[in-house]
């Protein structure tokens, strides 16, 4: 059991790290596309790892199944949302940031 606990703590910490880095990226990245990328990390890696960590400490299999369903749902919707955002921005002609450009 102690192994499971340690693994769960590691996963939760990694997930939290991804969420925080996503937030930092959202504030610091230079343009819309890179910011979408940062926000996408929160949904996929961040939430995914946190849910995996929680999965290791579920009291019953019913809760585990629910967590798995949520993970599947996030794995489908998170990347879709990022894609749609980036696609819509591209279609609207939001310019891409290149090295040396000012932040926007």
């Amino acid at each position: 059991m102690i192994v499971l606990d340690i693994a769960s703590v590691v996963l939760l910490a990694a997930g939290a790290l991804f969420v925080v880095s996503g937030g930092v990226g959202l504030l610091r990245f230079p343009d819309f596309y890179t910011r979408v990328h940062a926000a996408g990390i929160t949904d996929s890696a961040g939430a995914g790892l946190i849910l995996l960590g929680l999965l290791l400490r579920t009291p019953s299999w019913e809760t585990g199944v629910r967590l798995l369903v949520i993970m599947l749902f996030l794995a489908l919707t998170g990347p879709t949302a990022s894609y749609v955002l980036a696609f819509a921005a591209r279609r609207d002609g939001v310019p891409i940031w290149r090295e040396g450009d000012p932040r926007r």
Binding site: F73, L76, T77, T80, Y83, V84, F87, A88, R91
Partner: protein, 329 residues
Amino acid sequence: MTVFTLINISLLAILVATALTVSRLRALYEAAMLSALFSLVTACLFVLLDAVDVAFTEAAVGVGISTVLLLGGLALTRSREAVTPRRRRLPGAAVAILAGGTLVYASQDLPAFGSADSPVQRHPLTDTYLHQSQEDIGIPNTVTSVLASYRGLDTLGELLVVFTAGVAVLALLGPLAHPVDARRRDDLDLVDYRVLRVISAMLMPFILLFALYVLFHGDFGPGGGFQAGVIFAAGFVLYGLVFGLDKAQQVVPRVVLWALIPFGLLLYLGVGVVNMLLGGSFLDYDTLSSDPAAGQHLGILLVESAIGITVAAVMTTVFFSFANRRATR
């Protein structure tokens, strides 16, 4: 300071920051998205207060449907707030400060958070609801017993409010208003987005299934007619957005939706009238079966379905009425 207090304080801080940002923003699309965030944080606070049913409603209504309705409304008009002249801001500020001050003053009369001898805790009715309901009605979720059975008349009133809202929107934007202009209404469609289309088609059955689960599982866990109706409507709205309104209206013709709005309300009223015909009082579900508890189960199920039907029909109709309008920018 416990972790619980810390979470509460941070959530409330986010809430205040969101509210201030919304009030300062001129771009109304962003304000609409932030108001969704406001609802989401409120839902989290409700979960912390153990009010899961309310949290569920707040999340479904505040985030799910009202954001889409706001965006649908914004698509019809300008998306930037006009600048209010300074002299007209003062009365608004005065009203806001006065109302806020009154609320803060009144909140001092409230019992302390979690206090054991607040009127809610001590009143004999609470005990009745919590314990007697298990024998009277026999469903684990007391919130559902209170909502659908003990306070059935109040819930009927709430449904009447939703019904009135739907009728009002139909009267303004529906068939009696200007004829629909079919040309310029692909503003809201997202038909070009192939990935979105595939994923939505994949998720659609599960969204509708989840709505049914929420409806029929309301006796045992958080959920019920209001939440289920909103989730159903959100599913239809998603379908309409992604596949185009024409397709969505092929699935559910508008006439069917319009018929379903009063149908739910009439079903609710009908259950009450049947109770009276069977010799009970209005909405006394005991009369529906020889076993009172079974009658309660049946009554609650019928009433929750009635709520779900009307709410789903009203929300979908409101969205379709907005989306069918020609933008007048």
